[in-house]
Subunit: 224 residues, 2 copies
DNA sequence: CAGTGAGTTCATCACGTGATGAGTTTTCGG
DNA sequence: CCGAAAACTCATCACGTGATGAACTCACTG
């Protein structure tokens, strides 16, 4: 139903262990289905779990996501999640980590003439959200910020940290900090309605149109 | 910890009904603790439960709120929640119902000259959110919209319904609908950051200042 | 004053949750 | 080539959840 949910649609019904009377080792007839123990070759399970966690948390939020679901999405046993990440909370915190390129994009957009900064910021914001690799982490943050304390804290840090630094020289005059936080507010609102709540016609509007109108709104707070 | 949580801090350990040794009733020695059965006098339990539900959902969201917690907040048995409202989901839907005065406030603000409509809308929005009687319902909607489908749907309806109707004659020209949805976006963003994520200095800024700057941003989308 | 129905509590169920520990197989440093 | 550490599975636990049904008491109609 959703968009980012590809990862989970693997058939792989259930670990058909086919116990078959075994001796000590699984002398089962069929393909040697590794029962327990380490897998041969290189391992990329840790990242797989984190990726699955990002996807799941992005879709359903913290409370709505069970460790079993994450494990299933990653194709591993649930205990492995604990093995690598300890508690659900600490896994969540790591899933919340934002890719560095988001900061770069925003920072780059803030540079240059003040005149077009509103439009440039909106464009940068949309480009990051439209990128499937950075979306789950952003989605997780915004979706959970409404409920989860740590996620809200992250959102605040990102807003005041990244944005304040980027717009430091751009927004000047009275109440500069307040106006900076309002820019963050507008961007979060945009993400919330366009990507999370899926409000039409905003969700389907093409990038350029959104940039034109919403950029104007940001510019109104930046200027003075 | 939070602000709206007054309702729950009642000591009222146990419903000491003080039945005074009654005749037919359990002639137990101690204070006649109303075990089961209807309470004498008028009953306002139904509304108490709904109010408690609004407060709890507003604080913790749908998943984070248990029926037991709601029942405890309302000071009643958990089974009563089911008795009156059926499932948790249906109780949630009723808790989502917005007071009519919100629509009125927004609609009233949209009337009048186009010039100051941005500021008037922001002021109306803030006044509704700062009113403790309407806050839990709004909080519930915004907090849960990130996760819960029905809440998101409500948010969309409210945005396109109330706002589109109110701003129908005000926003004209190209992409009127899109720009209307952007006004909604800005207002939701404001609520999200000022009241939910509690971003400073936005959260502590006084109403007039917020109205001045943010009103300008709304106006930028309204005009043309 | 009988009796139906609504308000209220208690005890309980089946289930999904996060977490843990024991046991198995591989990798890898010495 | 040995042994410790890492990767991995399985079985289980204790717990909180939403939901249900039986029992009891009051209000209200006739």
């Amino acid at each position: 139903m959703e968009s980012v949910s590809d990862m989970r649609e693997r058939g792989e019904t259930g670990h058909e262990q086919a116990g078959t009377t075994a001796g000590t080792a699984p002398a089962a007839g069929a393909a040697a289905k590794h029962a327990g123990g380490r897998r041969p070759g290189e391992t990329r399970t840790r990242e797989a779990i984190l990726g699955a966690a990002r996807v799941c948390f992005a879709e359903r939020g913290f409370d709505g996501t069970s460790l079993r679901r994450i494990a299933e999405t990653a194709g591993v046993d649930q205990a492995l999640v604990h093995h690598f990440y300890g508690t659900k909370e600490s896994l969540f915190l790591q899933a919340l980590e934002l890719p560095g390129r988001i900061q770069e994009a925003i920072t780059a957009a803030a540079r240059g003439e003040r005149a077009g900064v509103g439009e440039r910021m909106v464009r940068a914001h949309l480009s990051v959200w439209d990128d499937v690799s950075s979306r789950p982490a952003l989605m997780t943050m915004v979706r959970s910020a409404a409920i989860h304390r740590a996620a809200a804290a992250r959102l605040r840090e990102t807003a005041t940290g990244v944005l304040a630094r980027a717009l430091g020289g751009v927004i000047t005059g009275e109440d500069a900090m307040l106006r900076t936080s309002m820019v963050a507010t507008q961007l979060v609102g945009l993400a919330m309605m366009r990507y999370v709540a899926v409000l039409e016609p905003l969700s389907s509007a093409d990038t350029d149109t959104v940039v034109r109108y919403y950029g104007r709104a940001l510019q109104a707070v930046v200027d003075d």
